[in-house]
Symmetry: C2
Subunit: 342 residues, 2 copies
DNA sequence: GACAGAAATGTGAGCGATCACATTTTCGAG
DNA sequence: CTCGAAAATGTGATCGCTCACATTTCTGTC
């Protein structure tokens, strides 16, 4: 590979002039600039980012850490972020891991920092991940996609609390008085926010609050949770903390012959691409993950340009009405606890 | 940040000795090694990967390009790859894009190569992406996750053809004689392989082959395709090229009151986490995407160690039996073309 | 305790760019 | 023309490390 000196020699100028052309400083005479560019083209020269990074101390690279399984939400956020970063001229070095192990996260951060990333982004909503980075002394800014506010200004998120309010109010407006919650795992901050939103609406409307049952986001856990919910007493609506669990619920109710929304209404969360084709199509809370990813990059750019972290950026989700929730009494309400199948 | 000279000074040795400790060459006396390590710890020293890369010309970085929407398959593959890479001491710089635009791909490769990645991985199954890289003259090895064999030895994949055979044979063994195919987009190499597998089984068993209807992987397209399929004539089974489209089919059939698998059996492809909770639970072909990602890294390591590309690595998918396919005639077969709803 | 050979450590150059500053060239005004 | 300021270009140091080779310090043997 040719280097800057080779180009300089061929163009008959000094290496510094080549450097000036490379960084298009406008103190180079058009005629020399043309000569240099010709030499660059002839040698197929590409400046070494590594050498440049060594002296400028800028790698134009951002470290992206993501934990947990490759779910639709985080994956979409990562994609949105990645595209926005590339557009802004940044590279993204990603460290993905299926665990949220503190040691693994710190190790990944260490490697990224050693590689001189200019900033870190953490896409993860579980307490373990957030806590792992919370009080870290870092040389570079770190932003999380996290909605509880625990990271102070260093976060960009979709308002999970608001989303849960939307879902729960919608069900309450439909006349449901007993709205149970299928919560996400207790390790998830987003899950906690969603539960909080649900509780808040129930409380403000004076509705009974039954202790929620928690799943782990998977359809399996949704299925299992539905059985526990059904064994636990009377209700007409379920607010599930994500669409996958809602699917499990749909399945469980179908297995028992309980019509949705005839007897039980369901609202999910996320609006995954499948949700519109669940049977029945799922009413859910849509989060624009791509947008979230782009916003993260925007915030990061501000910080990288020297601005202080401002208020946490928080965007609003929105309710998508489909067919899984209906006015209470549209079918017969479940009035008795239902025994599990024998 | 401290540099190698600072450490050397504090430890009372030369920078070269520090370098030796860093690269744990065993020509350093244990006592000096300990002194150096103490100095490293005291200064919180971390060697600059950038400086190291400049001289060794090795960045220990791999460029990962992925195109298209964040589907379960590619995302899982990327995760598996990322974890394997980290374990092997490599970083992953990823360029994800929702398009498969040739220009965008070449641009991304250019940026990655300029950054001195040691290898490139392309996770994409559409013709455009593969063609974009197919005849590229690159300084670094490039591996694709691609099953058609178009990339020669430079690919690692799950045998899509075999998976389709599995699905189709399963339906045929169940007694189905008219098995239609809901294909993936014509731009997808994987889709082409799946269709080829379906055709192959049909041909070898002397079964009628109806022209498949193509979707775009989305549940919406599955729904629409089901309607076209139903309008097109008689059949008792559908092999859908992926689970999401199978979901759309399930939805369409449910809307028409056609029982699955009573009248129509369905087999999908991928085994996404939701598939087990579709109504009915979907019989499908499972691909181990995480494994695929790890295999890609394995192959890459061999190449990076100087071995030649060998035969393309090809792993087998496997059929997961659930409830969406049943022996023909378990319900009444559809004998007349069904008019679309008015 | 002298010596050779091995083991341990040190020295200076160089990777490929940018930075700070020095030097040369150009251009317009008098 | 000459002069001086502005524009254009050049020079050498430097970023933080590894490489190649030089030098010093240990060993063990006689």
């Amino acid at each position: 590979m040719a280097n800057i000196t080779d180009v300089a020699r061929l163009a008959g100028v000094s290496h510094q002039t080549v450097s000036r052309v490379l960084n298009n400083e406008n103190t180079v005479r058009p005629s020399t600039k043309a000569r240099v560019e010709a030499a660059i083209a002839e040698l197929h020269y590409r400046p070494s980012m590594v050498a440049r990074a060594l002296v400028t101390r800028k790698t134009r690279t951002i470290g992206l850490i993501s934990t947990g399984n490759p779910l639709y939400g985080p994956s979409s956020t990562a994609l949105g972020f990645n595209e926005a970063a590339r557009e802004a001229g940044y590279q993204v070095t990603s460290a993905s891991m299926s665990t949220s192990d503190r040691g693994a996260i710190l190790e990944a951060i260490d490697v990224l920092v050693a590689q001189n990333v200019e900033a870190l982004v953490l896409i993860a909503s579980d307490v373990a991940s957030i806590e792992a980075v919370q009080d870290l002394e870092l040389q570079v800014p770190l932003i999380t996609a996290e909605s509880s506010g625990r990271m102070g200004g260093h976060s960009v998120s979709i308002d999970q609390f608001r989303g849960a309010e939307l879902a729960t109010s919608y069900l309450a407006d439909l006349g449901h008085r007993r709205i149970v919650h299928l919560a996400g795992p207790s390790t998830s901050l987003d899950a906690a926010e969603r539960e909080r939103g649900w509780r808040s609406v129930l409380a403000s409307r004076g509705l009974e609050t039954r202790e929620p049952v928690a799943g782990d986001w998977s359809p399996e856990s949704g299925y299992a949770a539905a059985e526990r919910l059904l064994g636990g007493g009377d209700f007409t609506a379920i607010f599930a903390a994500n669409d996958q669990m809602a699917l499990g619920v749909l399945h469980a109710l179908s297995d028992r012959g309980l019509p949705v929304p005839g007897r039980i209404s369901i609202v999910g969360f996320d609006d995954i691409p499948e949700a519109a084709h669940f049977i029945p199509p799922l009413t859910t809370v849509r989060q624009d993950f791509g947008e979230l990813g782009r916003r993260i990059m925007e915030s990061l750019l501000e910080v990288l340009r020297g601005q202080e972290f401002g208020e946490p950026v928080r965007t609003e989700p929105r309710l998508i009405e489909r067919a899984s929730a209906a006015p209470v009494g549209a079918g017969r309400a479940v009035t008795q606890p239902i025994a599990p199948p024998t």
